[in-house]
């Protein structure tokens, strides 16, 4: 009797997975096939690799301080996006990691307050928040007004790489803190105490115990910051004074120029690079964890 009942429960539990399986095939896997399909076809839906080769071969002439030269348009755009995204991610990690640690060490009540405080800005639309940053960072903005009040003179931020990075760090900072915090909150305090007892100093505990244990959180935090910042197209337009054309801008630009197939091709290439990058990172993390 009991076995039969638990058998039916197992069935129910297996069936519980059915809607999600169907959903993920229909709305996750199939759409990606569509991206590939559009990426490899022309307007008449005939097979072509032209969109893909265009990404790697299109060139334009650029003149800057170091003279005039020919560059690969989309490779340059991609590298620039990657660079800004990596900088933002590193900054988020450097400032977010200790903060997540601080939160996890606070009393339970303070923890929930701090976590909620971190999430509050996300409830106000990010377009509006980015707009407010423009008001702060402008040459005649709040920040510079503050500086000159202190007699420190003005600095030019808006329209520079720093402004774009500030915008990205601001918008995605919570995504770094939350996963690291949730791993740290679960960390066994006894392990740290044991390490101390065994003669580890503060740095040693951090390096040998806390960091390895928090690695899964770090990995998901890095993913959750890197991915959106590599593909953003609003922050770069607003805070970069329209001078930072990133890969997200390129995709959006091709979409509005009604070049759906090329937009899909850029998206496809970006996706492949990211999937491989993340798989590599995961493997690296697993190895580290195994050691």
């Amino acid at each position: 009797m009991k076995r039969k009942a638990s058998g039916s429960l197992a069935l129910v539990q297996r069936l519980a997975l059915a809607p999600y399986s169907a959903w993920s095939v229909l709305f996750i896997v199939v759409p990606l096939i569509f991206v590939a399909y559009y990426a490899f076809t022309d307007l008449q839906f005939h097979f072509t690799t032209e969109n893909i080769t265009r990404f790697f071969t299109a060139t334009s002439v650029v003149t800057d301080e170091s003279g005039t030269r020919e560059v690969h348009t989309y490779l340059l755009i991609f590298m620039r996006s990657l660079k800004l995204a990596v900088i933002s991610t590193v900054i988020c990690l450097i400032f977010g990691y200790p903060f997540a640690y601080l939160i996890s060490k606070a009393s339970e009540r303070t923890q929930s307050i701090l976590i909620t405080l971190i999430m509050i800005p996300m409830w106000m639309n990010f377009l509006i928040r980015t707009y407010a940053w423009m008001t702060i960072l402008q040459d005649t903005g709040i920040f510079n007004g503050f500086l000159s009040l202190l007699g420190l003179g003005r600095i030019h931020i808006i329209g520079t790489e720093s402004a774009v990075v500030i915008g990205m760090v601001y918008d995605y900072f919570p995504y770094m803190i939350l996963p690291i915090y949730s791993v740290m909150a679960k960390m066994d305090v006894k392990l740290i105490e044991a390490a101390r007892d065994l003669g580890c100093n503060g740095a040693g505990v951090l390096r040998r115990v806390i960091w390895p244990l928090s690695l899964p959180g770090v990995i998901s935090g890095v993913t959750m910051v890197l991915i959106p910042s590599i593909s953003t197209f609003y922050i770069s337009q607003k805070l970069g004074n329209g001078k930072f054309y990133l890969i997200g801008d390129a995709i959006e630009g091709q979409y509005t120029a009604n070049n759906l197939h090329f937009a899909a091709a850029i998206a496809f290439i970006l996706m492949v690079i990211l999937l491989f990058g993340m798989a590599f990172m995961q493997r690296f993390a697993n190895k580290r964890a195994a050691v």
Binding site: P31, W123, P228
Partner: protein, 277 residues
């Protein structure tokens, strides 16, 4: 050390709330400018409540976020339970990979991919409108699902396996054991998942941008579409109101938390006393 961490926390909070302060201040601006403060007035709040299109967009945003959060929480929790019970290693790995895809894929790709599919399928069936509320809802559920699953799954793994078994030994039917024992155990994960899904859906612009269609416009899209004309301080007023609503809820919940915490403490003391006795 204590002061150092206090200062650090304060600095982070200043960084996080600086733009919010700007929104707050300029929502009371007299003129239309978002960078020149000319005088204090409630003008934009009056305007906001008169603007039926914006209020409609707020309603749409909430309807979408709540529906997406609820559906993805139910489906995601069920999925987490199913994944947790999966014994086949390869199936498990496949599910994990699929779950990870929307998180590893940038919004812009998720948005474009869904849009391409909806448009293609819509054309296939000759539908007059293939982008509408339903497609936006599907898109939002899709990107919320992994976050729910990743919140619930760890709670299932942490749960003591003997708990439901004990319940069944005591005569519970398996279904009842699941509802009465397992669900309460993983409830914190479910609630966190729900809140995360709601937050993500509320804040999303990119995916909505590609999948929005007929007559259903959310707030982020309405704001983005103001790009030929100026974004009015009305939007700042709206953000300020949202801020105070959350703040109010926060204070309220703090009071309630305090009460529950006291109740829990009292119960624990009672139990301990009984043990000793």
């Amino acid at each position: 050390m204590k002061t150092a961490s206090r200062i650090y926390t304060a600095l982070v909070m200043i960084f996080l709330f600086a733009p919010i302060a700007i929104l707050l201040v300029f929502s009371f601006n007299e003129s239309k400018s978002l960078s020149v403060f000319s005088g204090f007035s409630f003008h934009w709040y009056r305007e906001l409540f008169r603007d039926s299109e914006t209020l409609g967009a707020v309603r749409n945003t909430l309807v979408l976020a709540v529906s997406a959060a609820l559906i993805s929480t139910v489906m995601g929790t069920a999925a987490a339970v199913g994944i947790h019970k999966l014994k086949n290693r390869y199936l498990r790995a496949a599910m994990d990979t699929v779950t990870n895809i929307p998180m590893i894929n940038p919004d812009i790709i998720t948005g474009i991919s869904l849009m391409l599919m909806f448009v293609f399928v819509g054309r296939l069936f000759g539908a007059a409108t293939s982008l509408n509320f339903a497609t936006m809802l599907i898109a939002h559920i899709t990107f919320c699902l992994p976050y729910v699953i990743l919140q619930v799954l760890p709670k299932l793994q942490q749960m003591d396996k003997s708990l439901p078994e004990a319940a069944m030994d005591l005569g519970c039917t398996p279904m009842r054991a699941f509802l009465k024992v397992e669900i309460p155990e993983i409830l914190p994960g479910i609630v966190t998942g729900l809140i995360m899904a709601f937050t993500l859906s509320l804040d999303d612009f990119v995916i909505s941008y590609f999948t929005s269609g007929n007559g259903f416009q959310t707030l982020p899209i309405r704001i983005y579409n103001m790009t030929k004309k100026t974004v009015t301080p009305k939007m700042y007023a709206l953000a300020t109101i949202i801020f105070f609503v959350i703040l109010f809820l926060l204070l309220l919940s703090n009071l309630v938390d305090e009460e529950t915490a006291q109740a829990v403490r009292a119960a624990r003391e009672k139990k301990n006393a009984r043990k000793k006795g």
